[in-house]
Symmetry: C2
């Protein structure tokens, strides 16, 4: 059995910089046609120069064959004081702006502390007018299992106040976020591979598994079920975004383990296995491409990825990074990307 995907996209990706970028960017470009590149570097990407330079650094890691078949969809780190003029100027090079509440995840220290509609009105109105989506890591500083659900009212407040703004609820993990999707026309979501597969039981219910530790943390069975329902059934407002986050092995297997699951090179295979398991392979194209193209209004390079129902043994490491399913077998493998 084979499956052909057209121009698969990863709508939430961390590539980091330097040596790590060299390791991971080619792995994504090998399978995907484009990816939303998160801007939480140190310092974060907040200028056109930094954004263009980062795009160049990403492209410079790719083999010639992938440069025309992979588009890094660049983002800025949200600042409430971006002017309309600045946004107009950077718009052609910009896919979205990513908003982090302060201190919520890796390199988010410079994030936003309040969500005052009046204060945010100039920048969010301009983004809505220009059609620049706002991607949000939606968590409060509350108890780890409640943070995302507590943030839903903020999503709703912003969605109501800025109806022309497309708001992407990034890497949603709860039934509460799924329910919010259908209450506002302008709320959308990305969902990761790992949140479709695991719950907190997989992270901390048996032995502790640092390589499955991520933010937002994996939640309850009923939350995973709600995510699965919208992903498997091609809900038009959800997109695949891996949130693949590479950390070196020694930053994961230690006290103070960094948050993030590395899935980029195994994501399409694992998604095929998952959608196949539920007899929903026909809906995978919507999840990994069509929905995103509609929501973002983008036309990524036309590529074709062929997957085969044939076991693939995941490497134990990619460089210094331990992937999800390290050393294990996935039932589907990738044969080609053209």
């Amino acid at each position: 059995m084979t499956l052909t995907l057209t121009s698969p996209l990863d709508m939430h990706l961390h590539l980091r910089d330097g040596e790590m970028l060299q390791t991971v960017a080619p792995l994504t470009a090998q399978h995907f046609s484009g990816a939303i590149i998160m801007p939480n570097l140190l310092p974060p990407i907040v200028t056109k120069e930094a954004l263009l330079a980062y795009r160049e650094r990403i492209l410079s890691t790719l083999p010639d064959t992938n440069i025309s078949s992979f588009t890094p969809l660049m983002t800025l780190f949200f600042r409430p004081d971006y002017s309309r003029e600045f946004l107009e100027e950077i718009h052609p090079d910009l896919a979205a702006i990513k908003l982090y509440p302060a201190g919520i995840t890796t390199n988010s220290e410079g994030g936003l502390s309040g969500f005052d509609v009046e204060e945010l009105s100039p920048v969010l109105t301009a983004m809505g007018d220009l059609g620049i989506p706002l991607c949000i890591h939606g968590e409060t500083n509350g108890f780890v299992m409640d943070r995302e659900a507590e943030f839903v009212p903020v999503y709703e407040k912003l969605a109501a106040a800025f109806p022309d703004l497309k708001i992407i609820m990034e890497h949603i993990t709860t039934a509460a976020s799924v329910a919010a999707l259908d209450r506002f026309d302008n709320l959308y979501a990305t969902i990761t591979l790992h949140h479709l597969l695991i719950t907190l039981d997989d992270v901390a219910g048996g032995m502790l598994q640092p390589h499955l530790f991520c933010k937002p943390i994996a939640k309850r069975y009923e939350d995973r079920e709600a995510l699965l329902q919208v992903a498997l059934n091609a809900h038009p407002k959800v997109m695949f975004g891996s949130d693949s986050a590479p950390h070196p092995q020694d930053a994961k297997e230690c006290p103070g383990c960094a948050a993030g699951v590395f899935t980029a090179p195994i994501a399409l295979q694992a998604l095929a296995a998952l959608f196949d398991k539920y007899d929903k392979l026909d809906n995978l194209q919507a999840f990994v491409n069509t929905n995103a193209c509609c929501i973002y209004g983008i036309t990524p390079p036309r590529t074709t990825v062929t997957l085969k129902k044939q076991p693939f043994t995941v490497p134990v490491k990619y460089g210094e990074v331990v992937p999800m399913f390290a050393g294990q077998e996935i039932g589907w493998s990738i044969t080609t990307k053209f």
Copy 2:
């Protein structure tokens, strides 16, 4: 400021065996007058010979000065088929019997799978008649955050069916278990140091902290608050039980990290700091000794431990084991044990 504790007891302790036993047993004997020694070795302690031999191995690790000032209070691993004759014979050497639901924690694979009152009646009736307390690790196989609360009905069923049996709810972590304490005369509880101090946020709310990963996992703020209330206010049915569980550093800082926090050598100092913080130092004696002596009907060796409000820097390791607060300062230190 100083504080004198008489014969402090640790009513839930893991000493393991072999080299690890050599490392950790003397640390407990240095501070405590007695400790309930958990029987989940491989194989578990289920015979009088094994129990006496383990006691000998424990005592053989102690310096001469501690042999008369520290009593290992020995336990058996619960089996539903222990006969009344066997229990009568072993009773003088036995402090309690520990029941593990199957597969719930370290070396609990041989544990109990059902809680059928009729089936358990012979052994639990005999234990009640003989005054042998039943210590239970009360968790179901459910979702990690719900396991303990889901087990409360089992505690209550057993408490109602065997009113003469003293049932100790071990290392309770939830407000639900605290509430059950007052519903049955024969329900008691141990509480660890770490569950008085941390929530799931400390384990997985920021970076992941494998050295704070334990079973039952730390819960919510309202759960910690309920535990604090009964501990600080000298509720007569709660006892200190550290559940101190030594694992070598490399078994904690790895994929598949073992469950357990190592607190034995720093527990009294940290308890003094905690009770001092809440201005409840007068109640610490009840928590670490008086309640346990009443509940178990024991008279441990008379010792005196003097603590001083003077910073103590916790070693980064004891042997290969990383303790709680490794390298950090605790506001109280131990000056002497006589």
